[in-house]
Structure formats: structure tokens, C-alpha cells
């Protein structure tokens, strides 16, 4: 059997690289799209409002549409996604392929990690303690200057 001239975009990995099917698909799509594009799978069937959430979220994702691709990209992508479906969206199973700049995705991941660390270490504000504990907290003394604060005698 003659060897095919075109190698599929999806890399068949060796037995020692246990990559998931999602990872292989994402790598394949990333190889077709412009460099620096982050590929994500959005659950639009299970969450009808998911595309709207992603469009206004951080980073802002846009759905990958067949009509927005160049002919060469369409041809390459058809090797990965053989069934186009009724609408213009590029689908992977029950998910829709959405994209954003990789730099924005990485920046958001760093921001989330930093927030998570802060949350673990943060000190509660008096107002938050008041709200959570249901005990009024009086911080008037903190608003006064050092010389106005009550001092212990002696």
C-alpha cells in the first residue's frame, strides 16, 4: 500500500506518551490555526448560555467558525472534524471549539493562581468579619490619630 503523501495533523504518539484524545485534538487544531492561539472546548449543549459566558469572560473566547478559516485551514481541519453539522461552528463531540490568544489565557491562569494564594493568606476586613460573624465591630479607634487613641495609664 503506497504511503500517503499527507501526514494527518493529529500526531499518533508512542506507547510511552499517554496523551488524552482531547489533548491530541487540541494540538491538531492549534497546529492549523495561527500560532499563539489557545484552543478550548465549550460545553454548549449542556450549557446553552456557555458561548455568551465565554464571550464576556476573562479571557474572551470566540467560537471557531468554518467561514472564518482560510481554504487551506478548512481542508486541514476537515481531517480532524469530518462532520460539519448544520451550523457554522466547529464542533468536537458535544462541545464547540472556542479560541483566544494564548498570552491572555496564560495571564488569566497566573491571575487565578495569585488570587487563590491571596485567599489562603488574606486577613479579613472588619466589615467582612461583621457580616460573617454577625457581631458588630467598632473600628472608630483606628480612625483616630495616634495621639487621640486611648492610652493605658502608667
Amino acid at each position: 500500500m503506497p504511503r500517503p503523501k499527507k501526514v494527518p495533523a493529529v500526531q499518533i504518539t508512542s506507547d510511552h506518551e499517554f496523551d488524552s484524545s482531547v489533548l491530541r485534538f487540541r494540538r491538531g487544531v492549534q497546529g492549523i490555526l495561527d500560532p499563539g492561539t489557545h484552543v478550548h472546548l465549550a460545553a454548549i449543549r449542556l450549557k446553552p448560555a456557555r458561548l455568551a459566558e465565554l464571550a464576556v469572560g476573562r479571557p474572551r473566547f470566540t467560537p471557531l467558525r468554518w467561514s472564518s478559516l482560510s481554504p487551506a485551514q478548512v481542508k486541514a481541519l476537515e481531517d480532524l472534524v469530518p462532520n460539519r453539522g448544520a451550523d457554522d461552528l466547529v464542533m468536537y463531540g458535544d462541545t464547540c471549539v472556542v479560541v483566544c490568544p494564548e498570552a491572555e489565557w496564560q495571564a488569566e491562569q497566573r491571575r487565578k493562581a495569585q488570587l487563590s494564594r491571596q485567599r489562603m493568606e488574606e486577613e479579613l476586613s472588619p466589615r467582612r468579619v461583621e457580616r460573617e460573624a454577625g457581631i458588630p465591630i467598632d473600628t472608630r479607634w483606628e480612625d483616630f490619630g495616634e495621639e487621640q487613641r486611648p492610652r493605658s495609664s502608667g
Binding site: E17, A43, D94, T95, K112, G134
Partner: protein, 300 residues
């Protein structure tokens, strides 16, 4: 248990507050213990060093010598007590207790009990919340990564990038059941839990509970039905992340606990005030002691 309307002796209040604390601390069963192994810390640093499986049995001739192999250790994990202690307390003056007609001060112990419970859940959930970003000390990748290093060579992918859906859950299930040892031996783990935030609770229950695959017209059976148990954990910080997890001990999720939540009430006679405090000493090992037994589905 609600406290009585009036207090008579300051020293007697402590016992009542201890009861209030215990009642509110135990109001809900802990969530994290379903899938996290709680390891009693007996030293510091506490060390976990998993032993690798031996290679497959080798073919030998009848009467031939047995091929021996040294036990080999995989990536080491350590947890130090230094930064593991948590404490919170409150103090009230005797006069404040006597004049507290509305009972707000007297309910403080209940509130502290909730804080203690919240703290433990937050600490335990931190392992999964930081599982996409915080590297393991020796493995040098987070708990969830596309390239978990295998000692015997190669990498393993336990990070699925995408929202929780049929396609991503299918991929996560495959990765979970294909987990291998550091030498590439199949270890035959089965997932037990799909842990999600309240935001994804409905999606998870539809994916796991439906007799037919949800939201399709083909009427095919739902192969995930009752395969795992859904755990909704409000302490997960990212609304779109989901975690496919094994039973405690099957995964590398470990909480090292040197001291459980302890509470104490005492009267400071010098200032005529009642002091109450709760302490806890425990932490999780960032990155887990092992990546096996956990697959992360990372939403956007």
C-alpha cells in the same frame, strides 16, 4: 445548641460555649474526606515516598535463576509543620457578657465553629484548586498536567482542557482507567467521584444520572450513568473546573494532619475576660503525593 439567655458565672460560660462550638463545627459532614486521605502527622517534615511497582515477571528457563530487582522509590513528597498551624480566637469582657441582652456575643462560639469547619474545607480544597498551577516539589509539574513525568520514561496526561461535557468526560474516564505505574504497568484504577462546583452541579448530575446521553437526538444509552458519584463542593474556587477522582488512598490527594480542630475556653482572671480559641495543624501537599487517581477537567 443555643445558649441560655443569661450567664451567671463567667467560668461556667466556657463549657457552654464549647458545646456551642462543637455543635456548629459538626453541623455538616466534611466533604473532603470522601476523596482525600487524611494522614496523621507524626513527625516534621512528614515524608511520603511511594514505592514503584516491580517490572513484569520475566520469562526464565525451568531451573533458571530468578531475576531480582531492587525496590525503587518514586517522587518524594514532604510536608512541614512550620506553616501548618491555624488559630483563631475571641475574647469578651465579663461586663460585655452581662450586658449582652441580645445574645450576640454568646453566639460567637457557634460562629467560630463554622469558621473552623470552613478553614479545614478550604485547606483540603486548596489541593485541587491549585492543582492546575502549583508545582509538586520534586515532580516539578502541578497535580494536573499534560506531561506528568514517568520514572521509567515518557509522560502521562491527566489534564483535560475543556468544559465538563460528554466529550471531555469520556476522555477523562479513558485517562483515569489507563493510569500506569512509573514503569508503565497498568494499575487498573477506577474513578469513584466526579467533584464539581455548585455551578456545574446540574451538568454533572445530568451527565451521570441520565439513562440516555443528555441533549442528543440519537437516543443512545448514557454509558456514564451511575459510573461515579457526583460531589458538589462549594469550596472549589473556579466555577468551571471538574475533577474525576478515585477513592481515598487510590489517589495522591493527602491531607497531613498533626492536630485536628481543638478548642479551648478559659477565664483570664487578670482582666476578667473570657477567652476562646480554636486551633488546627494540618496542610495538603501541593501537587499531591501522586498524580494517579485524579484527572482534572479544566474549564475556562
Amino acid at each position: 445548641m443555643a445558649t441560655p439567655a443569661t450567664f451567671v458565672v463567667l467560668s461556667e460560660i466556657g463549657d457552654i460555649l464549647l458545646g456551642d462550638f462543637d455543635g456548629s463545627y459538626a453541623r455538616y459532614a466534611p466533604i473532603y474526606t470522601k476523596y482525600t486521605q487524611v494522614l496523621a502527622g507524626e513527625r516534621s517534615p512528614e515524608t511520603v515516598q511511594p514505592l514503584m511497582y516491580f517490572s513484569e515477571l520475566q520469562n526464565v528457563a525451568i531451573g533458571g535463576a530468578t531475576p531480582f530487582q531492587d525496590p525503587a522509590e518514586a517522587y518524594k513528597s514532604t510536608a512541614e509543620i512550620t506553616s501548618a498551624k491555624r488559630a483563631r480566637g475571641f475574647q469578651v469582657a465579663e461586663e460585655a457578657v452581662r450586658l449582652d441582652r441580645s445574645g450576640r456575643v454568646r453566639r460567637a462560639a457557634e460562629k467560630l465553629g463554622v469558621s473552623a469547619q470552613h478553614s479545614k474545607e478550604t485547606i483540603a480544597a486548596g489541593l485541587l484548586n491549585n492543582g492546575f498551577a502549583t508545582n509538586h516539589a520534586t515532580r516539578a509539574v502541578p497535580l494536573f498536567s499534560n506531561s506528568q513525568p514517568l520514572f521509567g520514561g515518557g509522560t502521562y496526561d491527566n489534564l483535560i482542557s475543556g468544559d465538563l461535557a460528554v466529550a471531555t468526560l469520556d476522555s477523562a474516564m479513558i485517562q483515569f482507567q489507563n493510569f500506569v505505574d512509573d514503569r508503565g504497568l497498568k494499575i487498573n484504577l477506577m474513578p469513584k467521584f466526579l467533584a464539581v462546583t455548585p455551578s456545574d452541579g446540574r451538568v454533572a448530575k445530568q451527565l451521570i444520572g441520565s439513562p440516555r446521553e443528555p441533549f442528543t437526538a440519537e437516543n443512545q444509552i448514557n454509558v456514564f450513568q451511575n459510573e461515579v458519584q457526583v460531589i458538589v463542593n462549594p469550596w472549589f474556587t473556579d466555577a468551571d473546573n471538574a475533577f474525576l477522582l478515585g477513592a481515598p488512598g487510590d489517589s495522591g490527594l493527602v491531607l497531613v494532619e498533626w492536630q485536628g480542630v481543638r478548642r479551648k475556653a478559659w477565664v483570664d482572671e487578670d482582666t476578667d475576660s473570657l477567652k476562646f480559641k480554636a486551633t488546627y495543624i494540618g496542610l495538603v501537599i501541593p501537587g499531591g503525593v501522586d498524580f494517579r487517581g485524579a484527572v482534572g477537567i479544566q474549564g475556562a
